[in-house]
Structures are given as structure tokens and as C-alpha cells.
């Protein structure tokens, strides 16, 4: 690959900082004005994102106007951020084809979500605050994709993390939401450690964190072997750790489904369509680093394949409509990781799947929200059924999203998932068969659990009681899934046989219009993306090369469609007659494991939380009792009796002095040892 240069931005593009500044300003205004802005605040939020979208389209058109040979990567240097010693980090922005598609996705889908939220949050007293956080999120996400160096990427990265934390715990009076917010924050911090260390490593190796300089450094080292392969591998793996944290990939996937505690489904959406794709963006952006190291790529592919299967398996076992969609997100991002890990032309495949996923998953989540809106915030699919008669627009748009995600031709999922499976099969050697089969199996499982979701929600006999029918007197019982269901505080009344009493209805236009627009995207975008977007991204990723052909395109297409149809048929046959109202006892280990999220939480608890807690307790003990405590404790242990162990209170000066003295002794001894040894 030739060396990478960014041309200075001219014309309209030199004002690309406005993209970030407009939503950031709007967020500031909304937060600072407080309740004074309650009446019109949400419209300001919508308008600011619309303005960003219009700007994004303008910039996109300008970039498209540059003819074939021109440099399509335009950067603008705003000001010097940190300058110390050799380190020079500037606030600089970059607009290239890859950034362009992300800007359009973020502002476009973001605008529709904002619009939808105006309706969805209309009864919430915190609506203005919600829009402030939402604007903050858009600004941070745009900074993330626009930055021209890794520090800017990191700043946006932490910004979206903060915004997502605020949004997840938005309904802070619900303990589950507060816990989920904390979990998301902490697991993301684990990933961030990797990212931060990668940045330091880059700075130490190449003396810079600018994309162009780092990538050119990597390219030069490939030619001259100036940088050891180990360093590049470490860099790749550390970046990957960051990406796994943000994108909910194995082993850091557990926070993502919990994040669905946020205001349904609006903030859930940023955890589906936009923010969680940041990891994919980061790997695609760092393609030069990953290309230079095959081991790092193999790790990315393996994590993608593993996560996509984990997501599918757990998705089959969940009953909450948002939970299933959340695990399907985990699984679909697995596909994207698989694609970007394959390298070469498959980068573009990962990106187009990301874009298509952005549309259909947004549609599905907003559809889920629309269902819950009409069903008193119930989210248990066991308690739905036959809803297609009552909410036709939601049914139709959700159905299109459903067909798109399982990859029925000619909807978008088919055009984007199919090439990924093909590319996986055509990886060199036996691993091609392995990863290809995993991707194929995932397609079948996706078809199965999505069919289950769709059929149980919209078809079959209603498993609820219509209000004022059947002469049932309402036995007021709290819902078993109370924590999820009573988002707005109202328990749902029940009939005697345990069914919900419902009054299903279609959502208002402000919610259905975004649904329809997204459905159009799910239908039409696929074909568009599989050709023109791949061409559009060529300046960034290079030409697509055909790999070793284990299987031909036709064979893979037939196999994929066959597996998908099989999954749909199985799902339909099993669930057309509905299901019981409550979860049945698990008969096999697999079902039990899947219902427990494959024990990932239990694993984290045992491996990370428990030792951490023990270490803390031990340190507190030592710190409270000082060296005295240890000495006496040892004396007691050797003397064989707890009677000797004097109970020591905290805070005696002599204890402290002894601690200092022991420290002093150790330091003197250590220095002498170094000196003499």
C-alpha cells in the first residue's frame, strides 16, 4: 500500500467542526437553561441533529464531487491540544469516505430517533434532560468518527461512554437501571484501559498518535522491519480490547443486554445502531495495524465468530422483546467483527453490514418500543400474541426489519450478510471452513429466534385479555417481570388465569413515521450498499481481492437461504400455537446455560469481582491495623490461640509509626541491596 496522506480541507469542508459543535452547543443550552427550556427543549434537540445531518449531506456531496484520482481524505487542523516534549496532539478532524458513511448514519438515524423520542418521551418530566444527553451523545459520536488522531478518537469514545451511562441510568429510581449503568461504565473502563495503553504504545513507537503518521510508520516498518512484530501485535490486541468493551464482544459482552434498562427503546437504540458500532469503526480505521499482523486478525475473527454464536444461543432463550433484540445486536456485531478481521476487501463488507444493521435494528427497536407503548410497557413476549390486528403499521415495519435481519432476499440483510459468510468460507486453510460454518450456523439460529420473537408477538392467539371483555374481574397482581414492566410505575392488571388485561393500540404518527422511513431503508438499502458503498469505500480499504475459493458465491447463497428457511420453518412450527405464559423449567443444560447468559456474569463475578473484593478487604484490614496487626496476627497464628490476639483499634499513632518504620527499614534494605548487589 502506498503511504497515506490527508489533503487539507477546502471549501465547505473546512467548517466540518460544526458537525460536532452544533449538537454540543444544543446540549449545553439544554442543560444550562434547566426547566426554562422544558417547553421547547426537545425541538431544539431535534433541530440541532437535523442541522448536523444537512451539513453531513453537504460534506458528503462535496467529497463525492472529487473525481477519481483526487485525494478523498480531507483533514482540518483546529488547534494544538496537548504539546509536551516530543508529544504533539492537535484537535484535528478528518473527513474521508469511511467517516462520511458514519456521519450520515449517525446524524440520519440519530435524527429519526430524536423525532421518535419526542413522542415516546412526551409524558416524561425529564424529557428536556433526556434530549440534552442525547445531543451530547451525538456530538461525542461525531467527534469519535471525525477525529484525525487516536486521542480525539479516545475523547469521543469516553464521551459516548459517559452519555450512554447517563442514558442507561436515566430512570434512576429503578435500581436495575442504576446497576446496569454502573456495569456498563465499569466494563467499558476495562476496554478503555486497553485503548489507552495502545495509544501510549503508539506514541512510544512512532512518536505520534495521528492516523496518517502512525499508519505510515506501520507501513514503513513492514518494509524495513524497524518495528518488531510483537509491538504491532500488542498494539492490535490492546485496540481490540477497547473495541470489545465498546461493542459488547466476548468477553466483555455482558453489559450490553443490561443496558436495555434505559428509556425504552430510544436509548436502547444507541446501544444497537450507533454507539456499539464504534469498535467496528476503530478496527476498520486501524486496518493498517491489523493488516500488518496476521495473529491480531485471527484473534479478531475468532472473537467475532464466537460472539455471534453466543449472541444467537442466548437470544433463543430470552423472553423480553428488548433482551432478544439486544442479544441479536451482540450477534450481528459479531458478524461485523468477523468481517473486519478477515481483512482485505472484507472491511467494506463489515461496514455495509453495519450500515444495513443500523437501519433494520433501529426499525426493530423502535417497533419494539411501539409495541410496548401500546401494551402498557409490558415487554414479555409470552404475554403478547395476535397483535398484528391492532397495530398494523408496527406489524408491517417490524416484519420488514425481521425479514431484513434474517437475510431473506432481496432485503438488506441478505446483501450484506451473505458476502460476509462467503468471505469467511474463503479464508485461507481449514480456518475458512471453521469460521464459514460458524457464520452459517449463526444465520440459521438468527432466523429461528427472530421468527420466535415475531410469531409470539404478532401472530397466534392473543395471550392477553382485551379490556372490558370476557367478564373477567381484574385481579390486581404485580407482574412477575415487574422491574421491566412497570417503567412508568403502573402495574398491569391481570385476569384470574394470569393473563394481562390490555388495550392495544397503534402509536401516534410521530412514532410511526420514523418506523416507516426505517423500513424503507431496510428494504431498499441492501442492494444499494452491496455495490455502490463498497466502491465508495475503495479509497480507504483498497480494491477487493478474491480469496481462495473454497466455495462459490452461488453455493454459499443457496446454503445460507436454505439454513435461514429451515430456521424460520422450525420457529414457525414450534411457536405458531403460542406458548405458556410463564417460563417453563429448563430440561437441558444448554437451555439452562443460555437462560443464564452462558454464565458470563457468573464468570465475571468469580474471576474478577471476588478476588477484587477479597483484595480490598485484606488491604483494608492491613491498613486499619497496620503492621501491628500483621505482627500480632502472626504471633497469634504461631502461638496457637486467638486469646493472644489483642483487639487493635484503628488509628493509634504507634501503629502508624511502626508502619512507617517498617517501610523505612524495607526501603533502606532495598536500596542497599541494589547498591551492593
Amino acid at each position: 500500500m502506498d503511504s497515506i496522506t490527508y489533503a487539507p480541507a477546502t471549501g465547505a469542508l473546512s467548517s466540518m467542526w460544526l458537525l460536532v459543535a452544533i449538537p454540543a452547543l444544543s446540549a449545553t443550552v439544554l442543560l444550562l437553561l434547566g426547566r426554562r427550556a422544558d417547553k421547547w427543549g426537545h425541538w431544539l434537540g431535534v433541530a440541532s441533529v437535523l442541522a448536523s445531518f444537512v451539513l453531513g449531506v453537504t460534506y458528503f456531496l462535496q467529497l463525492r464531487g472529487i473525481d477519481g484520482t483526487g485525494n478523498k481524505s480531507l483533514s482540518v487542523d483546529l488547534f494544538e491540544f496537548i504539546h509536551i516534549g516530543d508529544l504533539n496532539v492537535s484537535v484535528g478532524l478528518l473527513f474521508d469516505p469511511l467517516t462520511a458513511v458514519f456521519v450520515l448514519l449517525i446524524t440520519g438515524v440519530g435524527f429519526l430517533i430524536h423525532l421518535y423520542a419526542v413522542g415516546y418521551m412526551s409524558h416524561d418530566p425529564g424529557r428536556r434532560r433526556f434530549f440534552a444527553y442525547f445531543n451530547l451523545f451525538v456530538a461525542a459520536m461525531l467527534l469519535l468518527v471525525l477525529g484525525d488522531n487516536y486521542v480525539m478518537l479516545y475523547a469521543g469514545w469516553e464521551g459516548v461512554g459517559l452519555a450512554s451511562y447517563l442514558l442507561i441510568s436515566f430512570w434512576s429510581d429503578r435500581p436495575a437501571a442504576a446497576t446496569a449503568g454502573k456495569k456498563a461504565f465499569l466494563i467499558n473502563r476495562v476496554g478503555d484501559v486497553g485503548f489507552a495503553l495502545a495509544i501510549f504504545l503508539m506514541f512510544a513507537t512512532f512518536g505520534t498518535t495521528n492516523y496518517a503518521d502512525v499508519f505510515n510508520g506501520v507501513l514503513a516498518s513492514e518494509a524495513g522491519q524497524t518495528v518488531s512484530a510483537g509491538v504491532l501485535l500488542a498494539m492490535g490486541l490492546l485496540l481490540l480490547l477497547g473495541a470489545c468493551g465498546k461493542s459488547g464482544q466476548f468477553p466483555l459482552q455482558t453489559w450490553l443486554p443490561d443496558a436495555m434498562e434505559g428509556p425504552t427503546p430510544v436509548s436502547a437504540l444507541i446501544h444497537a445502531a450507533t454507539m456499539v458500532t464504534a469498535g467496528v469503526y476503530m478496527i476498520a480505521r486501524s486496518q493498517v495495524i491489523f493488516n500488518a499482523n496476521e495473529t491480531a486478525q485471527t484473534v479478531v475473527v475468532s472473537i467475532g465468530a464466537l460472539t455471534l454464536l453466543i449472541g444467537c444461543v442466548i437470544g433463543c432463550a430470552k423472553d423480553g422483546i428488548k433482551r432478544v433484540l439486544a442479544y441479536s445486536t451482540v450477534s450481528q456485531i459479531g458478524y461485523m467483527f468477523l468481517a473486519v478481521g478477515l481483512g482485505g476487501g472484507a472491511y467494506a463488507l463489515g461496514i455495509i453490514h453495519l450500515l444495513a444493521h443500523g437501519f433494520f435494528k433501529a426499525g426493530l427497536f423502535l417497533g419494539a418500543g411501539s409495541v410496548m407503548h401500546g401494551m402498557k410497557d409490558q415487554e414479555d413476549i409470552r404475554r403478547f400474541g395476535g397483535l398484528w390486528k391492532y397495530m398494523r403499521i408496527t406489524w408491517a415495519t417490524f416484519g420488514l426489519g425481521y425479514l431484513a435481519i434474517i437475510g431473506i432476499p432481496p432485503l438488506s440483510g441478505f446483501f450484506t450478510k451473505d458476502p460476509i459468510i462467503l468471505a469467511a468460507f474463503n479464508r485461507e486453510g481449514w480456518t475458512g471452513w471453521l469460521f464459514g460454518s460458524a457464520a452459517l450456523l449463526g444465520a440459521g439460529l438468527t432466523a429461528f429466534y427472530m421468527t420466535r420473537l415475531f410469531v409470539l408477538t404478532f401472530h397466534g392467539r392473543p395471550r392477553w385479555q382485551k379490556e372490558g371483555e370476557g367478564g373477567a374481574h381484574a385481579a390486581s397482581a404485580t407482574d412477575a417481570h415487574g422491574a421491566h414492566a412497570d417503567a412508568h410505575g403502573a402495574a398491569i392488571a391481570r385476569t384470574e388465569d394470569g393473563r394481562d388485561i390490555q388495550h392495544p393500540h397503534e402509536s401516534p404518527w410521530i412514532m410511526t413515521v420514523p418506523l416507516m422511513l426505517l423500513a424503507v431503508g431496510s428494504v431498499a438499502a441492501g442492494w444499494l450498499m452491496s455495490t455502490s458503498v463498497v466502491d465508495w469505500l475503495t479509497p480507504v480499504f483498497g480494491e477487493h481481492e478474491e480469496g481462495h475459493a473454497h466455495l462459490t458465491h452461488t453455493q454459499v447463497t443457496i446454503a445460507t437461504v436454505a439454513v435461514t428457511v429451515l430456521g424460520v420453518a422450525l420457529g414457525y412450527l414450534l411457536f405458531r400455537g403460542g406458548t405458556s405464559l410463564v417460563e417453563q423449567p429448563a430440561r437441558t443444560h444448554l437451555v439452562r446455560a443460555a437462560r443464564n447468559n452462558l454464565y458470563a456474569d457468573r464468570f465475571n463475578e468469580l474471576v474478577f469481582e471476588l478476588p477484587g473484593r477479597l483484595l480490598t478487604r485484606a488491604l483494608v484490614w492491613v491498613d486499619n491495623r497496620g503492621v501491628d496487626g500483621i505482627v500480632n496476627g502472626l504471633a497469634a497464628a504461631f502461638g496457637g490461640g486467638s486469646g493472644r490476639l489483642r483487639r487493635l483499634q484503628t488509628g493509634y499513632v504507634r501503629t502508624y509509626a511502626l508502619s512507617i518504620l517498617s517501610g523505612a527499614f524495607l526501603i533502606v534494605a532495598a536500596l542497599l541491596a541494589v547498591r551492593l548487589g
Binding site: V151, D173, D192, V620, G651, I660, I667
Partner: protein, 509 residues
């Protein structure tokens, strides 16, 4: 009989310190001669005037690089920067010390020596506080300034005592919870004296080794001395212990939580910001000037101390239930990050100086906000009492949340830029292990900060939620300065980084 040769004295170089010391002495005279009713106003204006004049003198001196009074004082770029930092942070913390609206008569009592709960002690509860705190603060600040520009170890020792003694006294003056305040003062004094003894013994051994106590003399002595290396190693270790005690590094941190908790919060703020700057100013100077050439000997030991400090500080911060103790342990962990800068020697002097300013302002803001949460017993520092404050006092909670996020190192706060600058220059100086531990421990350390944020916003208020008092302009100004600097240094840190870069290395000639 030989005439004693008086060394040449460059008064211009000493001017900033002379001004502050002079103002402190005038302050004592004010106590003696000014009428009681006037003292407070006179002292506040005198203190602020003295500090501002000192700051102006430092700015005038900014390009000075000179060794004077026979090598006792070395004025150089980093020294002047540290002096300026201490004065600025001192002026800001003065806003808390002079606050008289939150508590009738101010946060101090008139006499520290009354036994707790005795009649005399109860009587002075309603009386206005001592105005001697102002000259005491000035003496402490002037001592810190001298500490940062000491050219030899004896001057450094004198400066150490000059700034420590007023602090011991100030710790015991809290108006509320007299008992733990007195306990804190006594503990700090006893342990401080203990650490001073180590320092002095180290000086003696080093004198035995190099035949001089001047820092540059020791630097040369390392190359030429024929004495045993044991003297050097033991002397260095004992000297370092004295300094690490003031810097609150593990295992010499034991006093920190008790003293931070017991001292009047304005004094805690002063210690967290200014004493930290002075202690690290001293550490940086000693290791960069006197022991740079023996770095191979002490770097592994000091690196171990840094790791211990980061790990222990951050993990113990998780377990705290009192906001002042939490901030104390967070200050221990931050001492660990700064030690990374010390171990990295010349490469990280600039970013360490930057870190001291950034941290100093954030911590002043945080402690200023701690003084506002009160009930009838005074400050309510137990974290359980802070639950649900966000409902009733959204502005307070938002600002405190911002400071907590700053401590946690989120971008767009000075916590991020300062850690980033420090860690990247340390990594560049081949201290990658320390950086990895630092980044990991900062993740752990984010947890207690987050806990406070969750508590403020998400937990239901307890039965007796304390109120957030409305302070006078002084405390408001402190909070504003803390928050504003945390933000500005997070967004546009380059102007300060340029100043730090211009300060150059320590003068080692």
C-alpha cells in the same frame, strides 16, 4: 582570626519569599496591635495582598536562573513555576480559610489547646475564630516556596519545618468535632517529627559521603567520592523517606486519612493542593539534581513505592465511607501517579508540574464543596448522608459530579489531559510498567468517584439529608476556580503546557 566571608545575596531572586515572609511577620504584629474588631479585615487583605505581591515578583523574575546565598537557594524555571503554583493555590484556598458565612465565626476556633468538651472549649464555640490562622498560612506557604528552591539539604530541612509547624497547628483548630481535630494535629505532629528525623539522619549520612550538603555538590560527589557506597544508599533512602512522608506515599501514607478527616476542611484543602505541590517540588529537585547520576540504584525502589502507592491508594479509596477519607486516599493514589513522574526524571518534570496544578485546582474545588454539605453538627462528611442530594441541589451535584469525573480522568477535564501528559512522558522515558499499573489503578480509582456520583443522583435521600448551605462569595469563587480550571485545562491545556515547557529543567550547576 579569619574574617567570615559573607556570601553574595541576590535580593531580587529572594524577593517573592521575602514578601510573603514579611507579610506573615506583619500579620503577627497586626494580632498584637490592631483592635480586635478590625483584625479579620486587615488580616485577609494583608494575606491576599502579600500573596499577590509575591506572585507579581515571581512573574517579574520569570526568566531568572541563579544560585545565591552561597548555594543555599537555587532559583530556576521549575522552582519559580512551583512557587507560583503554590502561591496561586494558596490564594484560592484562602477563600475557604476566610469563609465566615457557613459557620458563625469561621471554620476555626480561637484556641486549639482547650480540652475537647471542656467549659472553655464550649465557650469558644460561639466566639469568632482565631485570626492568627492568616499569618500561620502565610508562614506555611512561604516555607513551601523556600522548600522548592532549596539549593542544599539543610535549607531544605529548615524550610520543611517552617511549613510543617504551622500546618500541625492549623490542623487542631477545627470548630466542630474538636476531638478528632486535636487528635489529627497531634498525630500529624508526632509522625511528622518522626519523618523529619529520618530526613535529618539522611542529610548527615550524605554529608559523610559527599562532604557537602549542597545538591549539586552531592551530584559531583557521587562521581568522585571515595567513601563507601553504603553511606550514599542509606542516606538517600532516609532522605527519601522524609520526603515521601510529606508526599503521602505508601507505606508512609498512614497519617493521611486521619489528618485529612480531622483537620478543618479549608486546611485539608490547603494540604492537598499546596503541600502536595511543595513535597513533589522537593522530590523532583532532589532526585533530578542530586541523584540523577545514580538513577540506576534508586529507580527500581522508587518505582516499587510508586506502584504500591497507586495500587493501595486506589483500592483503599474504594472502601471508604467518608468523603474526606475518600479524597485522602485518592490523594494517596495521585501521589503515586506523581511518583511515576519523579521516577521518569527529566523527561517528565514538565508534565509533573502540570499535574500538580491540575490536581491542585480540582481538589480545592472538591474540598470547597465538601464544606457546603452541612447539618446542625457541622459538615456532614459521611457518604451515606450525601445520598439523593441531586434531587434538592442539582447545581451543587452537577458541579461535584463534574469534579469527580475530572478525578476519574474523563476527557474534556484536566484529569484526562494531566494523566495523559504524565503517562505518555513516562512511557517515553521507558517506564512502561509504571504506566500500565497507573492506567489500571486509575480504572479502579474511577469506581469510588462513580460511587459518589451514583449516590448523589440515583440513591433515594435518607431521612435526614443535610442541606447544601449557600456560602459567601469567597467559597463560591473557590468552587468556580476549581471547576473552571478543571474544564479549561481539559479543553485547552496548551498554554499552561507551554509555560511548563519554558520552565525547562532543574538547574544542576
Amino acid at each position: 582570626m579569619n574574617d567570615i566571608q559573607l556570601p553574595a545575596i541576590d535580593y531580587a531572586a529572594l524577593l517573592p519569599m521575602l514578601i510573603v515572609f514579611g507579610a506573615a511577620c506583619v500579620g503577627i504584629l497586626v494580632e498584637a496591635f490592631a483592635p480586635r474588631g478590625w483584625r479579620f479585615v486587615i488580616q485577609v487583605s494583608l494575606t491576599i495582598g502579600g500573596l499577590v505581591a509575591g506572585l507579581v515578583a515571581i512573574i517579574v523574575n520569570r526568566d531568572l536562573e541563579i544560585t545565591t546565598i552561597g548555594g543555599a537557594v537555587t532559583v530556576d524555571g521549575p522552582g519559580l513555576f512551583l512557587q507560583g503554583a503554590i502561591i496561586i493555590l494558596g490564594i484560592v484556598s484562602l477563600g475557604l480559610i476566610a469563609e465566615r458565612r457557613l459557620e458563625r465565626g469561621g471554620p476555626f476556633v480561637a484556641e486549639a489547646a482547650h480540652a475537647a468538651n471542656s467549659d472553655g472549649d464550649k465557650r469558644q464555640e460561639r466566639e469568632p475564630g482565631a485570626t492568627e490562622v492568616f499569618p500561620l498560612t502565610l508562614f506555611a506557604i512561604a516555607g513551601m516556596m523556600l522548600f522548592c528552591v532549596s539549593g542544599d539539604l539543610l535549607t531544605m530541612f529548615v524550610a520543611l519545618e517552617v511549613f510543617s509547624l504551622p500546618l500541625y497547628l492549623l490542623c487542631g483548630l477545627a470548630r466542630r468535632r474538636r476531638l478528632i481535630s486535636q487528635e489529627a494535629a497531634l498525630k500529624y505532629f508526632l509522625l511528622g517529627a518522626f519523618a523529619s528525623a529520618f530526613f535529618l539522619y539522611g542529610v548527615a549520612l550524605l554529608y559523610g559521603y559527599a562532604g557537602t550538603v549542597s545538591l549539586t555538590g552531592i551530584r559531583e560527589g557521587v562521581l568522585q567520592s571515595e567513601q563507601s557506597g553504603i553511606l550514599l544508599a542509606a542516606g538517600l533512602a532516609l532522605l527519601a523517606i522524609g520526603l515521601l512522608f510529606k508526599a503521602a506515599a505508601v507505606p508512609f501514607h498512614v497519617w493521611t486519612p486521619d489528618v485529612y478527616q480531622g483537620a478543618p476542611t479549608p486546611v485539608t484543602a490547603l494540604m492537598a493542593a499546596c503541600t502536595k505541590a511543595a513535597a513533589f517540588g522537593g522530590l523532583l529537585r532532589v532526585f533530578n539534581v542530586a541523584f540523577e547520576t545514580t538513577a540506576w540504584d534508586w529507580q527500581p525502589v522508587l518505582a516499587t513505592v510508586a506502584i504500591l502507592t497507586m495500587v493501595v491508594g486506589s483500592i483503599l479509596a474504594v472502601a471508604q465511607t467518608d468523603i474526606k477519607r475518600l479524597l485522602a486516599y485518592s490523594s494517596v493514589a495521585n501521589a503515586g501517579y506523581l511518583l511515576v513522574g519523579v521516577v521518569s526524571l527529566n523527561g517528565a518534570v514538565g508534565s509533573s508540574l502540570f499535574y500538580l496544578i491540575a490536581y491542585g485546582f480540582s481538589v480545592l474545588g472538591a474540598f470547597a464543596m465538601v464544606t457546603l454539605v452541612r447539618d446542625s453538627e457541622g459538615e456532614a462528611t459521611h457518604l451515606s448522608r450525601w445520598a439523593g442530594l441531586g434531587k434538592g441541589s442539582p447545581l451543587f451535584s452537577a458541579l461535584f459530579t463534574f469534579l469527580m469525573l475530572g478525578f476519574a480522568g474523563i476527557p474534556l477535564t484536566s484529569g484526562f489531559t494531566s494523566k495523559f501528559a504524565l503517562f505518555s512522558s513516562a512511557w517515553d522515558s521507558d517506564q512502561s510498567v509504571l504506566v500500565i499499573v497507573g492506567v489500571l489503578s486509575s480504572v479502579v480509582l474511577a469506581f469510588p468517584y462513580l460511587k459518589v456520583v451514583v449516590l448523589l443522583w440515583l440513591n433515594p435521600p435518607g431521612e435526614e439529608t443535610p442541606t447544601v448551605s449557600v456560602p459567601s462569595m469567597l467559597t463560591r469563587a473557590v468552587i468556580f476556580a476549581g471547576v473552571a480550571v478543571t474544564f479549561v485545562l481539559g479543553v485547552a491545556p496548551s498554554f499552561l503546557l507551554d509555560i511548563v515547557a519554558d520552565a525547562g529543567p532543574f538547574l544542576a550547576k
